[in-house]
Symmetry: C2
Subunit: 151 residues, 2 copies
Amino acid sequence: MPPDPLYLEDLHVGQTFVTDSLTVTTDQIKAFAREFDPQPFHLDEEAARDSLFGGLAASGWHTAALTMRLLVGALPLAGGVVGAGGETTWPRPTRPGDTLTVHVEVLEVTPSRSRPDRGMIRTRSETRNQHGEAVQVSTVRIVAWRRPFTG
Amino acid sequence: MPPDPLYLEDLHVGQTFVTDSLTVTTDQIKAFAREFDPQPFHLDEEAARDSLFGGLAASGWHTAALTMRLLVGALPLAGGVVGAGGETTWPRPTRPGDTLTVHVEVLEVTPSRSRPDRGMIRTRSETRNQHGEAVQVSTVRIVAWRRPFTG
């Protein structure tokens, strides 16, 4: 059974979530790069060796997309996970064969002043590889709905 | 012929770039969502109608990936376009059939204090649809290399 949906009232500062994990293959890294970030260090092992990355590296936007994939599975927000924007850094690249897991912490829970049916949460997500090293850190604002009044 | 590569010395505050354009199809929106952001409002027209988006909308991370695709084609930085991180907001969603173009402005050019071979630029990128409306605004720090000394 899917977990109960979470409303604004169910969320609190300091609350944490840990997602499932997924493993990224060389083929996936290259396929994403061909479509969205066709640069040699994301496409070709040899060219990557002589680049800033020192070896094949996933596009940061691939890491971001995989992070979203993991978050969608682990954050059962009522109405879905809809980000309004945020800050992202990539302390190190995702490498072929890396297994990623996202650790999420709720930083703020803010009811909307103008719209009584919703609010915003701000979360910090750290996407870690199998060595526990961060490949992405993001703080994102996400819409959260208030529990409907049922009388 | 590809354009000459740009080094840190070639970049200045206020410099602007405009990318090519690309058009996003319904199938691409759904394919990206299936892989990275499998939520009803990115996958199914009918479910999307009743959501916050009021109709099928691309994942924000899809918009981000398409923005990168356009940037890679238009910013001929020596050594490639390698982002260190940044801030992203999505003022409105990308819709099926939207044609996107990215307008880039250089905000800062900062030589590294510790590494004489490189620096950072900070850019503001606005990804606009065919109506000139912003679907993504991001300020990103990007590595820029100094021109090698050739004697």
